[in-house]
Symmetry: C2
Subunit: 361 residues, 2 copies
């Protein structure tokens, strides 16, 4: 039934840690609890009642606030490879993708829980230390606190389930379903970089690859990092939610074509975007130009850019800030009626924009 | 880097479902959302703002309530085997173990999120339907609603991360750390059944095994189900929390010896329990008697009984109900001072009760 039979009933099997001391599962949780408590330097009103180390975590929402919960499952060999993602970037990314979900709701992230499944040899390595280094660094950037999770052994692959809990004003969450004909469509940052980075990695590139010239190394690194170290648009999510500026929002995890279709499907609306307005990553354009590839395809279908795609009532467009945390936005089109479908214009041509992003099944 | 490259950009790969129609990941989520909405027949005040199908779920706590969050990661080959656990019992168990965590906090479970990682061939089978059948059946029993989660492909193993969110009165959560010398120690139900069931399964037994006589089949099935279909003590958790009857509580997942040590360690206390008072499962006694095994070892160290272990101030003992949902409790000992350690008496002998339960690492 399971492997308990194989376990000795004597002292728990000790494993080596970075400090050279031995560490079992319970010691690990104790240390993680201490670290989570040290890392937490919240400037927000205290609402964590009980963190790591009990059967569950306990939090308290302020009156009149809604609680927003997102989970993201990352599986080795499917969502990442051990050989190409350093553990601290995996820790960063596991948290980043869930922060991005919370941002896409117009909410402020507050708490993180991590369920971590590891093969025995990974548990015995530097992996967990480095994984949590990456996670805590990103958590500190957005004042997010690790409050719980679970740990399990796995036969072979690393699996991470990242749960983030956030808060927004009551009824203030920005759903996918709120877009109406006439609403203007915007996207944060630039697109295509993560997909280009993924393709480079699949072709053997890695960070600070010395096989390229200095300038190309820099371009490469930036693209690789778009894939390996996504930056969730937490600031934009909070601003758009607090100021009630967006009518619908989603984060670009599947790809612009898929995610715009999600908004239109949920909102029972259509959309027309303009290909010339799509903010393609400059490095993607440069790289594709050299290799005679079409950067627009990466920007439309690439996925994992973790930018925010949102719609704004025309009367509210003038109220949008130009930048939040140094990140700008670009107008890319307009919501139309459902019968008109989801379309893209390129010059004088217009065609249907079918979802072309990533699907697990 | 990952398998996206292998994906066709055309129509998403269709998979077969029970109804004979094809189903991709997004269709699956759409159906699950419909089903979760049909299954939800809450008699509680509505506080689900947004369920399955957006970037995150949104819930609202009543004023003056705390939110309690637990996660449990179940990994194939470690926590269960595909060949011995029917999918609907896995769905049941995934939810049950997290409900048990919420019960151990003295909280009422409200919402469930499931992150499910599946190999391609399992996705194409009846697995997901049956898994969610088991999950929804248990969820309905306790008025718990499925509100979100994530789905990923895996190379080989099934992994399930079960997140349950519950509620309790502000500052009403029952921690592991509240036990004080003189508090009386109680446990719900009976112990050792799950461990006995696991051992039987490891020796090749399965449900309604016809190789045994009718009476022994019944005994076997009951023990197997103690392992395969644990019943979380949700009712007891709510009563003990609401009435503020317990000073500390934990659920018996690791085993009585481990979990009592957790309470004592967190409470900076010792304990003395009486072996003759431990409520060993009758079927375990019967089975062990026939095979000259010691049932007490299974009850002390077996784990996964998912009964509740709790401590009560002596003045409050008389206020304890005899039964909740038909499940009784048994007094097994008393909390003492930290320096006295965690001990067990058997007749006139007393010895240290070292943690002997399951550890992943």
């Amino acid at each position: 039934m399971n492997d308990r039979e194989e376990q000795e009933r004597g002292p728990s099997s000790a494993v080596s840690t970075s400090s050279g001391t031995s560490l079992n599962e319970f010691d690990f949780i104790r240390r993680l609890r201490q670290r989570a408590s040290v890392e937490a330097q919240s400037t927000q009103p205290q609402s964590l009642i009980l963190g790591i180390g009990d059967d569950a975590a306990v939090i308290r929402s302020a009156n009149g606030r809604d609680t927003v919960v997102a989970t993201d499952l990352l599986v080795e060999e499917i969502d990442f490879r051990r050989t190409t993602v350093p553990p601290y970037l995996l820790g960063h990314k596991a948290l980043a993708v869930s922060l991005s979900d919370i941002a896409a709701m117009g909410a402020r992230p507050r708490w993180s829980l991590i369920s971590l499944g590891l093969p025995e040899e990974i548990w015995q390595s530097e992996f967990t230390n480095n994984f949590y280094n990456g996670l805590f660094q990103l958590a500190a950037q957005y004042d997010v606190q690790l409050i719980g999770g679970d740990t399990s052994r796995t036969p072979k692959q690393i699996v991470v389930d990242s749960i983030v809990i956030g808060e927004c004003a009551a009824d203030g969450a920005l759903k996918r379903s709120g877009a109406r004909p006439g609403d203007q469509i915007f996207v944060t940052g630039t697109l295509g970089g993560a997909a280009a980075g993924l393709r480079l990695i699949e072709r053997g590139a890695h960070l600070a690859d010395q096989n390229f010239g200095a300038n190309e190394t820099q371009v490469l690194d930036q693209l690789l990092l778009r894939h390996l170290r996504p930056e969730p648009r937490v600031g934009w999510g909070i601003v758009l939610g607090q100021e009630n500026l967006a009518t619908a929002m989603i984060d670009l995890s599947d790809g612009l074509s898929s995610d715009l279709n999600h908004i239109c499907s949920e909102s029972n609306a259509g959309a027309l975007i303009n290909s010339s307005e799509i903010p393609i990553d400059n490095q993607v354009i440069e790289l594709c130009g050299r290799r005679a590839l079409d950067p627009l395809q990466l920007a439309l279908h690439g996925g994992e850019d973790f930018e925010l795609l949102f719609t704004v009532h025309p009367d509210r467009v003038a109220k949008l800030p130009r930048k939040v945390d140094g990140v700008g936005i670009t107008h890319i089109g307009e919501i139309s009626y459902a019968g008109e479908g989801v379309r893209i214009s390129e010059g004088s041509r217009i065609w249907e924009l079918a979802p072309g992003g990533w699907k697990h099944f």
